[in-house]
């Protein structure tokens, strides 16, 4: 492991060499007498008997495996980083899979349990699914049908089920939920077999204004039996809690809130007209199977109404939760465990590459004394697989532990995790184990092959000069890849955006960055180190530069992590900028009253709010935007139900062809882009099919340019009324009268809103910010998930540094001998780490920024509706700072190890 000085020796001839060796032996012998015996000697001593044993034993281990084992035993600490990287990746993966399976199984049993008594469900056969919606809107059925069905042979009971949106206000007046999971209300079904909810406390509602609330919602709201509160349906209804209910044995269906009213109240507040029901739940008589029941119901059903078995209904519910929500959730987590695994590939590869380089002489010696190339390769791979196996097994345990911990933790933080055992399937064990082993073996493959190629003569040669960074082939290949990548991306982004081309280009760009790393490393480190002054920082810079290949490989893991963080940061900021721009451009009003952000949960706004606000003297125009759905010429589309003429005064709809006034009951206004793709123009007609199964011909009376806030289709309330479901507006846009001061106007509007369930009144800026609120929440989650990948990357840096420190033992000893203090030595290691981290961070910012730009550009929409590209300087500066600080943190252990070095041993070690 002599680094210099010996090269000329080789020239000087074997005689001096032999003399030098004899000298060294003297030193080594002296060394064994030191009280602090060297690690290696101890290992060697303990190892010998064991090996002898194996040789004489009946079972003979292949030589390569024996080598792998002894190397692992001797260098346990060097594999710490690899071990940790695999463990974390595998644990993440296992945790995700086990959590997903457990949640799915729990929801399964919850739905099955809750709807056990329901043998058949009768419902409208008509659903309309608007483009981009996960779930269709189903029409209502006639509640009176229940009485008729109850008398059919084979039917024990039938009860209409009414379900709608209903958001409770908490004891302190704030709305409960509404930030994702639905907030529901319905009728309390008297037949306990048909009611998925069970009374846990109190009694069923039997008078108007009485509600049963699911226990989870009551806890979240701070409501107890006997408390009075408000239920937004969205019209505020004063209610008194008379009972608490459970769902399938849990406090609720996830975080869904539910309020059960009397049937009369439910019909009054949750349906468009009395006598309607969402569906009818049917219980079979004794000895009648679910299939027989469905068959018996069939002839009694009017047109457009269908019956399905209770089991099928439960499956649909489970499918809705598992397939949509859980599927998305699991995929999301899997993507991030994928990132973590990718980062650990780089980390592990680098560790083995460094180890093999350090072991050149050892491997050469093996080759010289007759080890076959394959034995050396196998030995290295066996090492990798052993580490991989141990780490993966530990990772499995940790992953399962984390899942179990979360299962226990969720209920404690108010998220009702369905009861049930932890589900550990074969897949959730085999997949992470396989990934862990594959990652280890795959990462070590190249280094192992390189180890096998070691020439026997390398034992006598000095460590080769590292040329990885200066390879012309590498620079050319990397440069060409980058050029092709950029070209492909531009082709995919400019003109008609092609996500496929852009993605290919982006993937190529990532590969090009990895290939170009070593070439860029020396230049980049020089530039990054420019502000550093002083002897120690100079040394750190030289150390980071001495093997650009290693520096680059070390930094690559961090680069990938930072790139993904940057990608999401840039994309998130661009989305926000887009929303800002949208509000800025399209919202011409002064204040907005918005329902829940992101359109999920909540009960929306009372349709009576807009007229009440409009009646204020301070207000010139107040217009509500409701939501409807219909098939337009056979394609499911969302409709905006509003007063189009008034809307044009508070929203900027851009250029309008035709007239928005007087759309009447059979008129439509269509956004320009949609009109172009649907072949609609003023004067043309379109066939609209509603959820009640009726069809009507509408005439396009206007085409407007901007769909940002208005949506693609505008219809009047008059046109929507016959087909409406539960009435609600999602936005009320308000313009003040001339001369009304902003604060005064807002106060007046807020006062009115107070009477309609206290929705929040927002200024333009607040409205834009709240629209973007979900993005921040999402980004926080993404950052938390990416923290693991960054942690693995840091482990990689720390591990490589430890290996480098080990490799430089003699140099460090020399430095200490000629007067470098421990603190200075630590500083050198720290600065080297920071430089490597800075290189990785800079590369990651560059790559992530580029990928973010590609993603924004390649996203759907063009012209006016295209996403705005934004570079969030503050956030990215934070990312950079975190990268640098993390680099300093990563150096903690290697620096300490380096500083603890005993000088005498360092300078005596051959």
């Amino acid at each position: 492991m002599t680094h210099f000085g010996a090269k000329p020796n080789a020239r000087a001839g074997s005689k001096t060499n032999a003399r030098a060796k004899a000298k060294t032996r003297t030193h080594t012998e002296a060394d064994t007498r030191t009280p602090a015996e060297t690690h290696h000697h101890t290992e060697a001593d303990t190892r010998t008997p064991a090996q002898t044993h194996h040789r004489t034993g009946t079972v003979r281990t292949p030589a390569s495996l024996r080598l792998a084992r002894s190397s692992l035993r001797a260098h346990r600490r060097r594999f710490l980083g690899t071990f940790a990287a695999v463990l974390l990746g595998v644990a993440f993966l296992t945790g995700t899979l086990v959590m997903g399976d457990t949640l799915r199984a729990s929801f399964d049993s919850m739905f099955t349990g809750a709807t056990r008594g329901t043998d058949a469900v009768v419902r409208s056969a008509v659903t309309v699914t608007a483009a981009g919606e996960a779930q269709g809107t189903r029409g209502p059925v006639d509640a009176a049908l229940a009485e008729r069905l109850a008398h059919l042979p084979g039917v024990a009971a039938a009860a209409p089920r009414i379900e709608g949106a209903g958001q409770l206000l908490a004891a302190d007046g704030t709305p409960v939920g509404g930030k994702g999971p639905p907030t529901l209300a319905g009728n309390w079904i008297e037949d306990p077999a048909l009611n998925p909810y069970r009374l846990a406390e109190g009694r069923a509602p039997n008078a108007s204004g009485e509600v049963v609330v699911n226990r989870g919602a009551a806890k979240a709201a701070g409501l107890a039996l006997g408390d009075a509160t408000v239920l937004r349906t969205p019209d505020p209804v004063r209610v008194t809690v008379v009972g608490l209910a459970t769902f399938g044995g849990a406090d609720g269906m996830g975080q869904v809130t539910w309020a059960g009213l009397t049937r009369a109240d439910a019909e009054r507040y949750l349906t468009a007209s009395p006598g309607e029901a969402t569906a009818i739940s049917v219980r079979a008589g004794p000895g009648v199977s679910q299939e027989e029941l469905v068959a018996a119901l069939g002839p009694a059903l009017p047109d457009g109404v269908e019956a399905i078995t209770g089991q099928r209904a439960a499956e649909e519910n489970t499918e809705m939760v598992s397939g949509r929500f859980l599927g998305l959730f699991t995929t999301f987590l899997l993507v991030f465990s994928g990132v973590a695994v990718l980062v650990s590939v780089f980390t592990i590869h680098n560790t083995f590459a460094v180890l093999v380089a350090q072991r050149t002489r050892e491997n050469a010696l093996l080759r010289a004394i007759g080890a076959a190339r394959r034995q050396v390769v196998t030995g290295t791979l066996a090492e990798a697989l052993t580490v991989g196996l141990l780490a993966s097994l530990s990772g499995l345990l940790v992953g399962i532990g984390v899942a179990a911990g979360l299962q226990a933790l969720f209920p404690a933080i108010g998220f009702p995790f369905p009861e049930g055992d932890l589900v550990v399937t074969g897949t959730s064990l085999a997949l992470p184990l396989g990934v862990g082993l594959a990652v280890c073996a795959g990462s070590a493959l190249l280094p192992a092959v390189r180890a096998g190629r070691t020439a026997p003569l390398a034992a006598l040669r000095e460590t080769q000069v590292d040329v990885s960074g200066t390879s012309r082939t590498r620079a050319t290949a990397g440069g060409a890849m980058l050029a092709v990548a950029v070209g492909t991306v531009f082709a995919g982004v400019l003109g008609t955006p092609s996500l496929w081309l852009a993605a290919t280009g982006a993937a190529l760009a990532v590969a090009a960055f990895v290939v170009l790393g070593p070439v860029a490393a020396s230049v980049a480190v020089r530039v990054l180190a420019r502000p550093l002054r002083g002897a120690n920082r100079g040394l750190a810079r030289r150390n980071a530069l001495r093997s650009p290949g290693r520096t680059a490989a070390t930094a690559t893991a961090l680069m990938v992590g930072v790139a993904v963080v940057t990608l999401f940061t840039v994309f998130g900021a661009s989305l926000k900028a887009t929303m800002d721009r949208t509000v800025d451009r399209s919202f011409a009003g002064d204040v907005a009253i918005a329902g829940a952000s992101f359109g999920a949960g909540g009960a929306g706004l009372s349709p009576r709010l807009a007229p009440a606000v409009a009646a204020l003297p301070e207000v010139e125009t107040a217009v509500g935007l409701g939501r409807g759905v219909a098939e337009v010429n056979g394609r499911g589309r969302a409709l905006t139900v509003t007063d189009p003429a008034a809307l044009a005064r508070t929203l900027d709809l851009g250029e309008v062809r035709g007239s928005l006034t007087g759309l009447g009951a059979d008129g439509l206004a269509v956004a320009a882009d949609e009109a172009a793709s649907a072949g609609l123009a003023p004067g043309r007609t379109a066939e609209l099919t509603f959820t009640d199964g009726t069809r009507h011909t509408f005439t396009v009376r206007a085409v407007y340019a901007r769909a940002d806030l208005a949506g693609d289709y505008l219809v009047t309330r008059e046109a929507w009324a016959p087909h409406r479901t539960q009435d609600a507006d999602s936005l009320v846009a308000v313009s003040f009268a001339d001369g009304v001061e902003a604060g005064q106007g807002k106060a007046a509007v807020t006062e009115v809103a107070e009477r309609y369930g206290r929705p929040e009144v927002q200024t333009r800026e607040e409205y834009a910010a709240s629209s973007a609120g979900g993005i921040d929440m999402m980004l926080t989650l993404v950052y938390a998930l990416l923290a693991l990948a960054v942690l693995i990357a840091l482990l990689g840096i720390a591990n490589t540094l430890t290996l480098s420190v080990h490799e430089r033992t003699r140099e460090l000893g020399l430095l200490r001998a000629v007067g470098q203090t421990r603190a200075q030595l630590r500083a050198v290691v720290r600065w080297e780490s920071v430089l490597v981290a800075a290189f990785g961070t800079a590369g990651g910012l560059l790559l992530g920024g580029f990928l973010g730009w590609v993603l924004v550009r390649a996203s759907e929409g063009s012209g006016d509706s295209a996403l705005a590209f934004a570079v969030p300087a503050v956030q990215l500066a934070t990312v950079a700072l975190v990268g640098l600080v993390a680099g300093a943190v990563a150096s903690w252990r290697p620096a300490r190890r380096a500083a603890r070095l005993e000088i005498l041993r360092a300078i005596a070690t051959e």
């Binding site: 002599t2 680094h3 210099f4 000085g5 010996a6 090269k7 000329p8 020796n9 020239r11 000087a12 001839g13 001096t16 003399r19 030098a20 000298k23 003297t26 030193h27 012998e29 002296a30 064994t32 007498r33 030191t34 009280p35 000069v465 002083g534 002897a535 120690n536 100079g538 040394l539 030289r542 150390n543 530069l545 001495r546 003699r810 140099e811 020399l814 430095l815 200490r816 001998a817 000629v818 007067g819 470098q820 203090t821 421990r822 603190a823 200075q824 000088i903 005498l904 300078i907």
Partner: protein, 263 residues
């Protein structure tokens, strides 16, 4: 044999002094006394060689006197400073500011240029380099045209000359050389040794050199001989032949005197 203090040369002030130095490694059965009560002065402005068979304790003596290792008992003094009173940090600063080193091999940092290697102790101390003295030093060691090369581009002899320049760059009280020619052919070794001797004479520096090569020892003003951790002899104005004869005397007695020292 340990009555060095009564010798006439003690009249010269000592740059480095070792008093009743004992260094024990291991304990009980495995106990080895590498130094067994050595007292010796290394006078200012002189070039002293320390010789002895393998395991005689000569390297240990040097390491303890240079603050690289600590004594089990006795004292090592640099001027008036008792090294045993210093903690690791102060020992380090002492080595940086008052001691120069030339090792057998691996004297230079491969990442630094020749010039940077020479000024390394000064740079670590944050001291400014006196240009004139630096130039003088570079000329003395004859490396003017190699200043911006890396160590790997130099021959072994050139590397050791850089090490010598580095050792003297900070104007230390004493320079310790541990087998400085051990890895060199005889011609390069000769260059390095005469460089050491010349520097002592021209600048009045103190040099202590551990060697087992009689030819190398002959460059010194005086040779002291160690065996079994004890000071056994001194030889002023040595020649290679006389040193060799003295060493042969050890060899003939080797089975007796070194038996216990080599594990």
């Amino acid at each position: 044999m340990t009555t060095t203090g009564t010798r006439p040369r003690a009249a010269l002030p000592a740059a480095v002094r070792v008093v009743d130095a004992v260094k024990v490694y291991g304990r009980d059965d495995t106990e080895v006394r590498a130094l067994d009560g050595v007292s010796v002065d290394f006078p200012v402005g002189r070039f002293t060689a320390v010789m002895g068979p393998s395991g005689s304790g000569k390297s240990t003596l040097m390491h303890c006197a240079a603050g690289l290792d600590t004594l089990s008992s006795g004292a090592a003094l640099l001027g008036d400073t008792d090294l045993s009173t210093l903690d690791d940090r102060r020992l380090t600063l002492l080595r940086r500011d008052r001691i120069g080193f030339v090792f057998q091999a691996f004297n230079l940092l491969p990442t630094l240029t020749v010039a940077e290697n020479i000024t390394l102790p000064l740079d670590l101390a944050g001291r400014t380099v006196d240009r004139a003295r630096f130039d003088r030093l570079v000329d003395t060691v004859g490396l003017r045209d190699r200043l911006h090369h890396r160590p790997s581009e130099l021959s072994g002899g050139q590397q050791q000359r850089v090490a010598v320049a580095r050792a003297f760059a900070g104007e230390p009280d004493v320079v310790f050389a541990d087998e400085p020619t051990g890895n060199l052919d005889s011609r390069s070794g000769e260059e390095v040794l005469s460089l050491l001797g010349r520097t002592v004479r021209e600048t009045g520096r103190t040099v202590v050199m551990v060697t087992h090569d009689p030819v190398a020892a002959a460059h010194a003003d005086e040779v002291i001989f160690l065996a079994d951790g004890r000071l056994v002899d001194r030889m002023p104005d040595p020649t290679a032949d006389r040193v060799l004869d003295r060493m042969k005397a050890f060899d003939s007695r080797a089975p007796v005197t070194t038996g216990g020292a080599t594990p």
